[in-house]
C-alpha cells in the first residue's frame, strides 16, 4: 500500500437494483495534496464513485479507505474529514448565503469564533462578501455555484470532492470557477477529487487523471503521461511541388504517412520532438522545399477517444432530468 495515499479503493463495486453494474472492482489511489480528475463518458460511474467515497450510498461489495477510515464501517468519521460539492445544488434558497454556511458549520461542530472567521475568509475568497445576507433564491447561477463550492469547506476538510463543479455554467463563469478551485487548493492545503465531462476542465485543474468507463479504470496518469502514451504525434508538411510531396511520403522515420490535401502530407511519428531535427535533415539532404510545417501534439480529446472509443464532445450528462433541474435553478 502506498503510504501517501489519502484515498484508496479496494475492489469497489456498485450494482444498482441488482442489475446495473455502475462500478466494477474499481481500484484507485489518490495521493495527499493532489488534484485528481475522474474523466469518463456518461454513465461511466463518476458520480457513483464520488457518492460511495462520501458515504452517500453504500457499496455492493469492496470498500475504500478515506483519510484512514473505512467508508463502510466508519462512515461518520469519513464524513467529518471530507467536504463535498455535489453535482446538484444543495443550499437552502430560503436562507441567506451566510446562514447556509453557518448552518453547515454547526453540523460539523465548528466552534463559533472559528466558524465566523472561516466563513468570512471563504466568502471573500469567492467574492460573495457583499451578498452574504441576501437570500440564496436571489443569487445568480454563478453566485449560487460559488456558494456551493465554499459550503463544502467551512469545516476545514482534508479532502474536497467536486462533482461536475461547472455543469450548466457559461464559459466565463466556468473559467472563474477554475480560478477559485486553484486558489482553494493552494491556500487551503486540501486534496481535491474532481469529476467532469469537460476535458479542458480536467486538463486545466488536475495533476493526475483517471479515465473510467463502464465502471473500470482504463488509464491513469498525468495529462502529459496519458498523451505521450498515445503512440505518435502528427507532423503536417506542405511542399512546394508534387514531386517533393511524393518524396516526403517516403520519409523513413514515419509510422504512417498520408496525403492531407494538395501537396500536403500528414506524418505520424513516435515523438515529434526527437523526429523534427531528423526530418529537417531529410529535407535538406533531398533538397526539398517546404512551404509550411505544423506539429500537432495529441490533445486529451485524442486520449479519450483512444481509450473509450468515444468522442467526449458528443456527450451530454446522462441524467437529463437532473441537468434540466439544475439549469432551471441556475437560470433564476
Amino acid at each position: 500500500m502506498n503510504m501517501a495515499a489519502i484515498i484508496q479503493t479496494k475492489n469497489l463495486t456498485k450494482i444498482y437494483g441488482g442489475k446495473v453494474k455502475a462500478l466494477d472492482n474499481l481500484n484507485i489511489e489518490i495521493e495527499e495534496g493532489e488534484v485528481y480528475g475522474l474523466l469518463g463518458p456518461n454513465g461511466a460511474g463518476k458520480t457513483t464513485t464520488i457518492n460511495l467515497l462520501v458515504t452517500r450510498i453504500s457499496p455492493t461489495s469492496g470498500t475504500a479507505i478515506v483519510n484512514g477510515y473505512d467508508i463502510v464501517k466508519q462512515s461518520l468519521e469519513v464524513r467529518k474529514s471530507i467536504g463535498v460539492v455535489p453535482q446538484d445544488l444543495t443550499t437552502d434558497e430560503d436562507l441567506s448565503g451566510y446562514e447556509n454556511l453557518k448552518m453547515v458549520s454547526r453540523f460539523y461542530d465548528v466552534p463559533n469564533a472559528e466558524a465566523e472567521e472561516r466563513i468570512h475568509k471563504l466568502l471573500r475568497m469567492v467574492n460573495l462578501e457583499d451578498v452574504k445576507n441576501r437570500l440564496v433564491r436571489q443569487y445568480s447561477g454563478g453566485m449560487r455555484k460559488r456558494l456551493e463550492l465554499i459550503a463544502g469547506l467551512v469545516h476545514d476538510p482534508k479532502i474536497l470532492f467536486l462533482d461536475e463543479p461547472t455543469l450548466g455554467l457559461d464559459v466565463t463563469t466556468r473559467t472563474q470557477m477554475w480560478k477559485y478551485v486553484r486558489e482553494i487548493q493552494e491556500k487551503l492545503d486540501v486534496t481535491i477529487i474532481l469529476t467532469s465531462h469537460y476535458l479542458e476542465e480536467v486538463d486545466a485543474l488536475a495533476n493526475r487523471i483517471s479515465i473510467i468507463d463502464h465502471g473500470k479504470v482504463l488509464a491513469t496518469g498525468t495529462s502529459d503521461e496519458l498523451k505521450s502514451n498515445l503512440k505518435g504525434d502528427i507532423i503536417i508538411v506542405a511542399m512546394k511541388t508534387d514531386e517533393d510531396a511524393a518524396t516526403i511520403m517516403k520519409y523513413p522515420g514515419a509510422i504512417e504517412a498520408k496525403e492531407n490535401g494538395p501537396k500536403t502530407v500528414r506524418l505520424k511519428v513516435q515523438n515529434s520532438d526527437e523526429e523534427l531535427p531528423k526530418l529537417i535533415r531529410f529535407v535538406s539532404d533531398n533538397s526539398l522545399s517546404v512551404t509550411r510545417l505544423t506539429v500537432q501534439k495529441p490533445s486529451l480529446d485524442d486520449v479519450f477517444l483512444e481509450y473509450t472509443g468515444k468522442e467526449i464532445r458528443e456527450e451530454e450528462p446522462a441524467d437529463m432530468r437532473q441537468t434540466m433541474m439544475n439549469m432551471r435553478r441556475l437560470r433564476r
Binding site: 467529518k80 471530507i82 445544488l89 437552502d92 436562507l95 454547526r106 460539523y108
Partner: protein, 264 residues
C-alpha cells in the same frame, strides 16, 4: 444529537419569515372560532347537559379546535422533508456527520413549536370574541399544563406517523393524498366537535378509540371544570397515558425508520 439545533432553527426561520404562513396562522384561529361558534350554536339550545356543563358552545368546542389545530399541523409536518429531498437540500444534510434522525426530529420539534404558538393565539382569540371562552370554575397552572400536554401528545402521534411516511415518499402528491384520506375521518369519528349524545351509536363507539377524542375530552374537562374531581382526574389520567404511550411508541418507530431508511 448534533444537527438537531441548526436544523430546527432553519425550520423555524423558514416558517416565521414566510409572511403568508404567519398571516394565515394569525387569522385561522378567529376563522375557526367564528365558524364553529355560529354554525353550531344551535346545539347549545339542546341544553347545557349536552355540553357537559359548558356555559357556551365556544367553551365546549375549544378542546376540539385546539386538538384539530395540533392534528392538522402534524399531518403536514412531513411535507417539508419531501421538498428538502426534491430541492437537493437533503443531500447536504446526508453528507454531514449528523445523526440521520436529527433531520426528521428537527421537523417534529419545529412542528411542535408552531403548534404551541397557534394554541396561544387561539386561546387569546377565544377569550376576546363576544360570548367566547369562559373559565366558569377557574383555570389553574396544572390545567394549563394538562391542556398543553394533550395537544402536543396528539400532535406528536401524527407528526411521527407523517414524518416517517415522508422518509420513504418522494412525491408531494402522495403525501397530500394520504392527508386527504385521513383528515376528515380523524376529525368526524371523534368527540372533537360534537358531544357523544348527538352522534350515531356506532360512530360514538368508534370515536372512543380515536386519540383525537382523548385530547379533545381532556382539554374540555379542564376548561369547563377548572378544579378537577377525583373521577375527572382519573379519566384524564387514562386519556393522557393513552396519548403518551402511543406517542412514545410512534416516536421510537420514527427514530428507527429515519436512522435506517432516509435517503435521497
Amino acid at each position: 444529537m448534533s444537527g438537531l439545533g441548526p436544523l430546527t432553527s432553519r425550520e423555524l426561520k423558514k416558517w416565521y419569515r414566510n409572511p403568508v404562513s404567519l398571516l394565515t396562522g394569525l387569522i385561522q384561529p378567529f376563522f375557526w372560532l367564528a365558524l364553529f361558534g355560529s354554525a353550531f350554536s344551535k346545539i347549545a339550545a339542546f341544553g347545557p347537559q349536552l355540553l357537559d356543563g359548558a356555559p357556551n358552545y365556544i367553551t365546549y368546542i375549544l378542546g376540539g379546535v385546539l386538538t384539530i389545530i395540533g392534528l392538522f399541523t402534524a399531518l403536514f409536518s412531513g411535507v417539508n422533508l419531501i421538498f428538502d429531498r426534491r430541492l437537493g437540500v437533503l443531500g447536504r444534510f446526508l453528507i454531514a456527520p449528523i445523526r440521520r434522525s436529527s433531520i426528521v426530529f428537527s421537523k417534529i420539534f419545529a412542528s411542535s413549536a408552531r403548534i404551541l404558538v397557534q394554541v396561544g393565539i387561539l386561546i387569546l382569540a377565544a377569550l376576546l370574541i363576544p360570548d367566547g371562552l369562559e373559565f366558569k370554575h377557574g383555570f389553574t397552572v396544572l390545567d394549563g399544563l394538562i391542556l398543553i400536554a394533550a395537544v402536543l401528545l396528539v400532535a406528536l402521534i401524527f407528526t411521527s406517523i407523517f414524518t416517517a411516511i415522508a422518509v420513504r415518499v418522494t412525491r408531494p402528491d402522495t403525501i397530500f393524498g394520504i392527508i386527504n384520506l385521513v383528515n376528515l375521518p380523524l376529525l368526524f369519528v371523534s368527540y372533537a366537535m360534537f358531544p357523544p349524545g348527538l352522534m350515531a351509536g356506532w360512530l360514538s363507539n368508534a370515536a372512543k378509540y380515536n386519540p383525537v377524542s382523548w385530547s379533545a375530552e381532556t382539554i374540555r374537562t379542564v376548561v369547563i371544570n377548572g378544579t378537577l374531581s377525583a373521577s375527572q382526574m382519573h379519566s384524564i389520567g387514562i386519556w393522557l397515558s393513552g396519548l403518551a404511550i402511543l406517542a412514545a411508541a410512534l416516536l421510537l418507530m420514527t427514530y428507527y425508520v429515519s436512522e435506517k431508511e432516509i435517503r435521497e
